[in-house]
């Protein structure tokens, strides 16, 4: 039996159905991400698990117990919020020790536990600092420590890094992952950032408008999106209309849209030989822009623009206006619903 089970979870706010019959399992010791755009219900589902929201229908089972009607304080679940996690009137030490004091842990043991946790998040020496004197990244590390020191069954994170600078985000992502693996604690992570999700998760659940659109390991989701929503949300897929694509490649029209990853498209100036398992499309470079270590070309093929990514191995290879040939293997053209 899975460690966490969501069974037929439904939640409505007024006339809005925010969660629509969600059924989801989370294995023990895994870092699972709920990924999706704003309003898809991921935060609401997380808060239902925490007990901060009550579902209108369905059950939540944690470690074999039905916790659907339990108070948040009785669930042994911890949460790191997007911001304002820390109590502003207490220093770092007291913030972290808060949960332990409630459990009436004796002072000496409490001290050891807090110091251990502070070492784990690398904040030694900051015991007496107040939250307002800490950076955003430091505050979230304290919040993390506070959530973990009470040895919860599940750690929930609600977009904890959205308010952090991009540079700092990477190191915090690694740190969270590291801690999760070291403690082997079950983690449910909510984010709208697909790069973050792919980097950190064991399993990703992609949510859209109250339902789970697709679930799987990061690579699986990245290489095999099943719906056009999944394709347009994860990776930088080109999603082409089925009929238009069929016309381009000269095949009979198919009902599904086609999703192609930009990095699977090869661009050449000379016409390539015909290949049995690849499509060759002719087009024109409309524009290009650097993205990190990749150049993204916008190529007009037929009446559509597609993106093709090329590694930035030498200086840019193609100019605007050049006529090029785009080669893409057939197996990289994924039909999506």
């Amino acid at each position: 039996m899975a460690f966490i089970q969501f069974e037929h979870i439904t939640k409505r706010f007024g006339r809005n159905t925010v969660l629509d019959d969600i059924n989801l399992d989370v294995e023990k010791g895994k870092l699972v991400t709920l990924l999706g755009p704003s309003g898809c219900g991921k935060s609401t589902l997380l808060r239902c698990l925490a007990g901060l929201e009550n579902p209108d229908g369905g059950r939540i089972i944690l470690d074999g117990e039905d916790i659907t009607n339990r108070q948040p304080s009785e669930r042994k679940v911890s949460m790191v919020f997007q911001q304002y996690s820390l109590f502003p009137n207490m220093n770092v030490f007291d913030n972290i020790a808060f949960g332990l004091k409630i459990q009436k842990i004796p002072q000496k043991q409490l001290r050891t536990m807090v110091e251990e946790m502070m070492a784990m998040v690398e904040l030694q020496g900051k015991e007496h600092a107040l939250p307002r004197h800490l950076s955003g990244g430091q505050q979230q590390r304290v919040a993390l420590a506070r959530s973990l020191v009470t040895r919860p069954k599940v750690l929930l994170l609600d977009e904890p890094l959205s308010a952090i600078d991009a540079k700092l985000r990477k190191s915090l992502q690694h740190r969270i992952q590291q801690i999760q693996r070291e403690l082997n604690i079950t983690c449910v992570f909510v984010t709208h950032d697909q790069d973050e999700a792919i980097l950190m998760s064991d399993i990703i659940h992609l949510m859209n408008q109250g339902t789970v659109e697709q679930s799987g390991a990061p690579i699986e989701l990245y290489t095999s999106p099943k719906t056009s929503f999944a394709a347009s949300f994860i990776g930088n897929y080109n999603v082409l209309d089925g009929a238009a694509f069929a016309k381009l490649v000269g095949e009979p029209a198919k009902p599904n849209d086609v999703a192609i990853r930009p990095e699977t498209i090869n661009l050449t100036l000379e016409a390539p030989q015909m290949q049995p398992d690849a499509y060759v499309l002719s087009g024109e470079i409309m524009e290009f822009s650097p993205h990190g270590n990749v150049i993204r070309y916008t190529v007009r093929v037929g009446e559509q623009d597609i993106h093709a990514d090329a590694l930035f191995r030498s200086f840019k290879l193609f100019q605007t206006g050049q006529k090029v040939y785009a080669i893409v293997e057939k197996r990289n053209c994924l039909p999506v619903m």
């Binding site: 925490a50 007990g51 901060l52 108070q71 948040p72 304080s73 669930r75 679940v77 911890s78 949460m79 919020f81 911001q83 304002y84 996690s85 109590f87 502003p88 009137n89 207490m90 220093n91 030490f93 007291d94 020790a97 808060f98 949960g99 409630i102 459990q103 015991e127 007496h128 107040l130 506070r146 959530s147 009470t150």
Partner: protein, 308 residues
């Protein structure tokens, strides 16, 4: 797309206009005339009266010599000692009760639905206008010697009501608390906006309940506003004149009434002594503000040594 040339020339002329204006400021200072009426008003009716009052409190009548005698007289004569003591205790009590009620009232507003919140706030707004003479009078018909509640007490045999004396210290506190409630509550409402929902949720997830939240997080965070509002309520009460005057006239010794007596009325005019009393009143108000700031600082210091 804008014509870049047109944009450049427009920028040029705007820069010229602003340069002309900056130069304008340095050349002709006639615009300062606009400030004149304000300065005249402030000097003649705010600063001059204030300063002359403070100075006058240190002068002997008729001779104009510097002296502390006026202040000494406040503490030597029982009438005025009582005035200071009564004003202080009346204001501390009514402000203290007021701030407690204001806390729960503002908390109720913070936690309630929009409709209830608006209704209650409208009632607060409406009744905050009810003060001074009208308020005193309505309490007289409520709890005065022939008051309605007195009759009720007599009828039902509730001796507390039957024998209640409005014209006493406790009666004054009761009436003063009435006008502290709307003011205090409305002042506290914005402070609750600063309480983040995340803190409440975090306490809950860490195993704490409502009481722990309020004592460990809510009240400490609200403390500055609570003390600030208390200061305002105190100042409001200590300088209140109309209500006390209408209720008790000169029969109960309170600072504002004693002060006005020195300047108006049948008793001989004693400006110097009256000024000293007025300065005393200001000292009480400033004193409470300083005290609450000090308390705030101490509470802040305590936090950061906690956990050593």
């Amino acid at each position: 797309m804008l014509n870049e040339q047109a944009l450049a020339s427009a920028n040029q002329s705007s820069i010229q206009t602003l340069q002309r204006f900056n130069g304008f400021r340095a050349k002709r200072r006639t615009y300062l005339l606009a400030l004149l009426p304000f300065i005249v008003l402030i000097i003649t009716y705010e600063l001059a009266p204030l300063m002359t009052m403070v100075i006058r409190s240190f002068l002997t009548p008729k001779t104009g010599e510097f002296t502390f005698a006026n202040y000494a007289a406040i503490f030597q004569k029982k009438l005025y000692r009582d005035a200071v003591f009564n004003s202080l205790s009346l204001s501390l009590f009514s402000a203290g009760i007021g701030i407690v009620i204001a806390f729960f009232g503002a908390k109720a507003i913070y936690e309630s639905t929009l409709k209830r919140r608006n209704t209650f706030m409208s009632i607060l707004n409406m009744t905050s206008n009810f003060a001074g003479v009208p308020l005193a009078f309505s309490y007289i018909i409520l709890l005065g010697n022939a008051g309605v509640l007195i009759h009720l007490g007599r009828h039902f045999g509730i001796s507390f009501l039957e024998n209640y004396n409005l014209y006493s210290f406790s009666g004054l506190v009761l009436v003063y608390v009435y006008f502290q409630i709307p003011l205090g509550t409305m002042l506290m409402v914005p402070a609750f906006q600063g309480l983040k929902q995340e803190w409440r949720e975090a306490v809950s997830l860490l195993g704490g309940g409502s009481v722990r939240y309020w004592f460990k997080v809510g009240l400490p965070v609200l403390l500055p506003s609570l003390l600030g509002t208390f200061s305002v309520l105190f100042s409001n009460a200590v300088a209140a004149y109309a209500t006390a005057y209408a209720l008790l006239g000169g029969n109960f010794s309170l600072l504002p009434i004693r002060i006005s007596e020195q300047f108006v009325g049948d008793v001989l005019q004693r400006k110097e002594f009256g000024s000293a009393l007025a300065v005393m009143l200001m000292v009480l108000m400033v004193g409470v503000t300083i005290l609450s700031n000090w308390l705030l600082k101490r509470a802040g210091q305590q936090r950061s040594t906690y956990g050593k």
